[in-house]
Every structure is written in C-alpha cells, then in structure tokens.
C-alpha cells in the first residue's frame, strides 16, 4: 500500500470537523512542534524532507524558508496561496473542502517555524463555500486553543486570516497575490526584491502553496528523513495529481513520486485507463501551462525508458521531448480531441487572464489567440504556424512574471509535436470546420 500523507483520513466521515480530525491524530504535530522543537528545528526538518513547492515551480520549500530575511522589529508574514486557477488543476480545492484542518495545522506549524504572528490564506473568490468551510474550521481551532493568543501556553500568538481573491488567475503569481492582498491592483511586482526580503506590506514574507503547507504536519510528526525516503532522487514525498479528461476515473489522486506515467494512466488504482474504445493521443501533464506531449513521449523518454511521475523524469529531454510536473493538473486526451482547438482554448484563457502590465504578454497573448482562432475556424494561412512559433518565442522569457512563459509554452509545444494537425486545418478548412471534425492523419496513438 502506497503511503498517503495528505489523503490518509480523507474518507473518514466528518473529517472536516475539529473533533473527528483530532481523533485521527490531528494537531499532534502542533503539540510536538510547540513542546519539543524550536522554530529552527522545524525549518531544519522541512529542509531535510526535500519537499518542493507544489504550486508549480517546484522550488525546494526548506530553501525558500531559509531565505526569509529576519530583521529586528519587523513583522514577518506567511501567506498561503490558495488561488488555484490553473486549468486542469483542482487539488487544493479538494483538499481544503474535505480536510480543512490539515491546512490549518500546517499553517500553524509553518507560521511558528517562520516566526509569523499573522498569516493569510488567499483563496480564489469563486470558492466562497470553501472560504466558509475554512473560516468555520479556524473558529473551531481557536475555540480549542490552537489559534489566537498564547497557543498551548507557549506564549506564541497566531492569527489566521482567510482572504477571498477576486478570481484573477494572475493573483496566483506570488507578488501579484501580495499586491492583491494589500488591496491594490493585482499586478506582479518587479523582482528583485523578492518577497523573502520585501513582501507583504514591504515586510519579509513567505508564500507557499496549500499542498506544500499541508505536508508540514506529517513532516513534523514523522521527521524530514522519513519524508525524503519516499519518492525518487530530488523528487521526494507524495504529490496530489488532479487527473481529468478522457480517462475512466477522473479525480484527485495522491501518488508517491516515481510512479511510472503508464501505470498512473492505466492502473485501476489511479486513472483506470482511457475510456473504452479509444486510444491515448496526448497528455498535458502539469496544468495548462506546461508543454503538451504526444502519447509516445509521455509514456516513454526519448531514449525508450519509461517516464516516471517525478520532476526530473517529466522534464527529461528539455522542451524538445519533455514537459514539467507543474502543479499536477494531468489532462488526458484521446484521439477525439482536436489539438488546435485545445491550444486555442488555452490561448484564450491566457489572453483573458494577462494582467496587461508588460507589453509582450499583453499584446502577444491576444495576438496568438486571434491567430489560433483563425486557424481553428478555417481562415488560417500557411505562414500562420511560423508566426505563432515566432510570437511565442518573443514572449517567452521577456516578461515580468511567468504568465508570459505559461502562455507561450502550450502554443509552442502543440506546434512542435502536432504540426501536421495545424497544417491539416489550414489546407482543409472545409473539412476541419465541420462539427466534431478531428484530424485522423498519421500519429502515434497508444
């Protein structure tokens, strides 16, 4: 049986209440950390665990914590990024609504480790019911003395604030999130300075994803080394994967990093295979912004070895033949999916969500969307494909925040791996614009 760190008790009835969560061993990590460990020791355990940021970038969390500046007399803040808006990703939403106390326990431990006395959970505005669940859970924890003044008699105070966002994708970028939290327009900041030096209200701040923070209670209970023992190499621990698309069992799965992609798609434990009568065509492995891969490349590396669900294995081969683990939004497509339409849909999303601050992203995302729309609706020209590649190249890496990259990668990768399909749309516009028409030419289906 695979280790479950986050979802072990998720099916226990009433787990969203304090009493049931406590009965399942909840809040013991808070007690252990407060009574037997110094904040530095907690940071040290997280460092040892090797847990990497689960929001998408995969930056080691312990290292991020150790970058936090600690000037005298200046408050420090911990902000939990629960603005999950990446198409294809719904793990944080699931975690917060089913087991809210896991996040709150993690927030208490992390705030203690970082020395923050006021911490924020920034939840995307559409999830109002989740905000109510979290607020109820916070009130329960406060009533039991795990939050508020003088927690467990240690003299440590912590206030936890749930802040609804306005539903903008850009506010999931950490500096835009901080701007939004301060009540300003959600524009990403120029870096440096990084939030660890000047973050919320110009004070040192750590911004972490929901899933990353939720792992801390297990790490404190079992030790960083036990966590690092799970997984392969630098991809330690478990990861929540939001599986969606043409599979038999869509849902959120907690996997030990290192599971072969093929097993993840076909094993009954997880996705349960492609829906009957169809074949695998492509996978977007880590949320809409990572490069799309065709069936043969997602299952196997370029050298023929099996591809694994780890940060390293998924990005093996760079963007030529690889992708990224990202936020774990695993979108599976069978042969009935039109890659052009899908790419247009992603481009439309990024066009809509660009904040408009820097010119390549503001103008480029709209341009790509319009060209893709044209191709999808049968008005494309041959040179449009190269135009898209060129525009994507000129956005990538030249913007303030990673949204520009996120907009450019899906377009560039779709053309890299499915160029025939784009060409088919351009040369056979009448056929391609029929309802439900999909390219049936030569491609590797599995």
């Amino acid at each position: 049986m695979a280790t479950k760190i986050l979802t072990e008790h998720i099916n226990v009835p009433g787990i969203e209440t304090f009493d049931v969560y406590r009965k399942q061993g909840g809040y013991t990590a808070v007690e252990k950390a407060f009574k037997t460990m110094t904040p530095e020791e907690v940071v040290e355990e997280v460092k040892k665990s090797g847990v990497r940021g689960r929001g998408g970038a995969g930056f080691p969390m312990g290292m991020k914590w150790s970058f936090l500046a600690k000037p005298e007399g200046v408050p420090r803040y911990l902000v939990c990024n629960a603005d999950e808006s990446e198409p294809g990703t719904f793990k944080d939403h699931y975690l917060m609504k089913t087991i809210p106390h896991l996040l709150i326990e993690g927030m208490i431990i992390s705030s203690y480790a970082l020395g923050a006395n006021k911490s924020f959970i920034y939840v995307r505005g559409e999830l109002m019911y989740v905000i109510h669940i979290l607020e109820k859970a916070i009130a329960e924890a406060k009533a039991k003395g795990f939050l508020g003044k003088n927690i467990l008699g240690t003299g440590y105070d912590l206030e936890l604030v749930v802040q609804p966002g306005g539903g903008a994708y850009i506010c999931g970028e950490e500096t835009a999130l901080l701007e939004s939290l301060e009540g300003k327009r959600g524009n990403p900041r120029n870096k440096p300075p990084f939030p660890a030096v000047k973050g919320l209200y110009q004070c040192p701040t750590v911004v972490n994803n929901v899933e990353s923070i939720a792992t801390t209670s297990w790490i404190v209970n079992h030790g960083g080394e036990a966590y690092a023992a799970i997984g392969i190499g630098r991809s330690t621990g478990t990861k929540l994967i939001s599986a969606s698309g043409h599979i038999n069992k869509p849902g959120v799965y907690e996997i030990e990093l290192g599971v072969p992609v093929e097993d993840f798609i076909y094993a009954d434990e997880w996705c349960g295979g492609i829906r009957p009568g169809h074949k695998l065509k492509a996978v977007v492995a880590g949320g809409s912004s990572v490069p799309i891969l065709p069936a043969n490349l997602i299952l196997n590396l370029a050298n023929g070895e099996k591809r694994l669900m780890t940060y390293e294995s998924l990005s093996d081969g760079g963007f030529q033949t690889g992708t990224m683990l990202g936020s774990g939004g695993f979108i599976v497509m069978d042969e009935t999916s039109c890659i052009v339409r899908n790419t247009w849909n992603f481009a439309r999303f990024y066009h809509h969500e660009s904040c408009g601050q820097c010119s390549p992203c503001r103008e480029g995302t709209g341009w790509m969307e319009k060209v893709l729309h044209r191709i999808e609706y049968g008005h494309g020209h041959r040179q449009d494909i190269d135009l898209l590649v060129d525009v994507a190249k000129k956005i990538e890496g030249n913007t303030i925040c990673p949204l520009g990259d996120a907009a450019a990668w899906p377009v560039a990768s779709a053309i890299r791996h499915f160029r025939d399909e784009f060409e088919w749309h351009i040369t056979n516009p009448q056929e391609a614009t029929q309802p439900g028409a999909v390219y049936r030419g030569e491609m590797a289906l599995v």
Partner: protein
C-alpha cells in the same frame, strides 16, 4: 573604514567600462557612458519612483553577473530596474538576442497602435516613433482589427487617446507622486486595460498637465495645442517666470511670433526634472509673460535635432534607399532656433516616392 568614499562598482556595457555607485541600475550606468549604448526606455522615467520594468524595451543580456559570481543571468533582464554588481558585464547593442527581443517588443507595441502619426500631436517627439525607427519593420504581420476604446473626456486641458496608449503607467506615477490626489488609474485587465477616471471625471489639479509631458506617446496631449501645428515647424525657446506654485522654468514653442505651446524642460533623455504647474502650461501664452533665456538645446531624440534621420542611421532598406535618394545633410552645428523650414530651398525636400526609389544606392 578609513576611506569615507563609497566603493564604486565597475560595470562593462558593450565593452565600455564605467564606474558607478552601488545601487545604480544598468540603464543608468549605460546612460553614464552615453546615448550610443543606453538602452531605450518607454516606461522608465528617472524622476518617477517605482517606474520601469513594464515595457521591456530596455532588456539587456547580463553576460557576467559580477566579479564574484561571473555566471551569466539565464534570461534577459530589464536594465531599468536591475541594479549593477561589481564586475558585471552587460551586452546591449552587441547581442543579437537583445536586438531580436527589442524588435519583438516594437512589433508588440505597434500591433494595436493606430499608427495615426500624420494627425498625432506627439509625432516628432514620440518615444514610440523613435523606438520603431530604430527597431521596427516597415511591414506588419498582424491582420486582425486593432483594439479600440470608448472615448472618455478627462477635462478641458488634457486629451486622452486611449488607442495610442502603451500602458507605461508613467501618468499614474506622476499623479501619485507630484499631485496630492490621483483621480485616474488603470482600469480593466490584459489588452482591455485602459487609463481612465472610472466615473467620468475631469482630472483637475494644479499639476495635472505634467501627465502630457511624461506620456511617451500621443495618448495624453495638450488640448490647447491640439492640431495647431507640427512640432518640427516650431521653435523651442527656454524661458522662465516668477511662478508662486512651481519653478516657472519652461520651454516655449514658437510658431512665428506666437507662443503655441508651453512645456516643461526636458533633459537629454527626454525626461522632465522640474515639473511645472497648469497656470504656466495652459494660461501664460504671451511672450510678455516670460523672461526669455535663449534657444533650447534640442534633445537628441527630437525630430528637430539635426540629422536625426541621417541616411546611415536608417535601418530598414526601404527607408535607406529613400533617404539616400532624397536626403542632403545639413550643417550639424547650426543653431536650431534659427531653423525656419519655409526658408529652406525646395531641393531639401523629398521627391515623390516612386521616382526616389527608382535609383538604387
């Protein structure tokens, strides 16, 4: 420390070394060397705190981060906001990747720009025109409709043309930092973002006119000067007056004997260092209101700066051939205040376009 002087950082830009104080940005270090290596800046405005980083026109490549850590930076960086390190090596005009990125930025800025320069009051002193002249192409790959906005009236003095805006945020910073109340800002998101006052409201403030001077394009122009003349037909003269609210140091723009426009003085980087009040700008338009100091030293970016469009500075072939066929250099040392376009001999002007292009250089 016996030495009280702060230690200077050595920075190399395009092979030229310069010593600057710690905390200086790459752009400022490059400007210290000279205009040849200074990256273009469409949104950065030195007198405005917090400006910069948005247009990405000033991207440069850092080939070596510092003497201690000589690794190159993985991405191009915005030179206007990146502080220098000791021993940093920067590639600006010498790096093809930088040139390509800049060409891309011009293309992005122009795809939704109306290109109405022939009727735009900013033409001739427009940062975007200059940037496009250096890095743009004569053709476009953009086939779709250009973005348009509903027109908004923001008061009797300032004309807002949102279609021309490149969202540099300079006017927002100006209103934040030199007026006591900001009533306009950026509304909306992405390419639908626009400068506006939310509920139609006039921008009414003693210093509001400065947003016209800081605007790099023709999005915010002077209503009292609207369609009066082209900048290259006017003569700029430095003048001052005893003003109770501002420094009173201005540039008067003459057409014949008439003052048709008053602006703040700009330095060689096209930046205003002393902002002026609306009384000076909009109400004092008689020569008798002012003490004349003498002809203005023309900024290198102005269209009326001598030989700006000299044949060898023109990049696209089309323009080069046109210029070679029609352009005759004029005396660089001449006093621009004496320039009167109507007195120039007719052979100074271009022949009709097709015949000019018949001659291959």
């Amino acid at each position: 420390m016996e030495d009280n002087k702060p230690q200077l950082f050595k920075v190399t830009v395009d092979g030229i070394e310069v010593e600057v104080e710690p905390g200086t940005t790459i752009l400022q270090a490059a400007r210290k060397i000279g205009p040849e290596v200074a990256p273009p800046a469409m949104c950065y405005y030195q007198p405005l705190k917090g400006s910069g980083g948005k247009c990405r026109a000033c991207l440069v490549r850092v080939a070596a981060g510092s003497a201690k850590d000589p690794r190159p930076m993985p991405k191009l960086v915005a030179s206007c906001i990146t502080p220098v390190q000791d021993g940093m090596v920067v590639e600006n005009t010498t790096n093809q990747q930088v040139i390509d990125a800049r060409n891309g930025i011009v293309e992005f800025l122009l795809i939704n720009h109306p290109l109405d320069c022939p009727v735009c009051d900013q033409a001739g002193e427009c940062d975007l025109q200059n940037f496009a002249f250096d890095h743009g192409k004569a053709t476009t790959r953009y086939e779709e409709d250009r973005r348009t906005f509903e027109k908004h009236d923001i008061g009797p003095y300032i004309q807002l043309h949102m279609t021309r805006c490149i969202l540099c945020y300079r006017c927002v910073y100006t209103a934040d930092q030199i007026t006591n109340k900001r009533v306009h800002g950026v509304l909306g998101r992405g390419d639908a973002a626009e400068i506006g006052t939310y509920i139609e409201k006039a921008i009414d403030n003693d210093f509001s006119g400065n947003v016209i001077d800081v605007c790099p394009v023709g999005a915010l122009t002077d209503k009292t000067y609207r369609f009066k003349n082209r900048v290259w037909f006017t003569k700029p003269v430095d003048a001052h007056r005893d003003c109770p609210t501002c420094s009173g140091k201005v540039t008067l723009w003459y057409r014949g004997e008439e003052v048709i426009r008053v602006t703040a003085r700009k330095n060689e980087w096209n930046e205003v260092t002393e902002f002026i009040c609306n009384t000076c700008r909009f109400d004092q338009k008689k020569t008798s209101d002012w003490v004349i100091e003498g002809p203005t030293k023309i900024s290198r970016s102005s269209v009326i700066s001598a030989n700006k469009y000299r044949a060898d500075t023109i990049k696209p072939d089309f323009g080069k051939r046109l210029a070679a066929a029609t352009y005759k250099p004029i005396d660089d040392k001449r006093d621009t205040s004496q320039l009167d376009i109507q007195q120039l001999p007719p052979e100074r002007f271009a022949k009709t376009l097709p015949s000019a292009l018949d001659k291959e250089p």
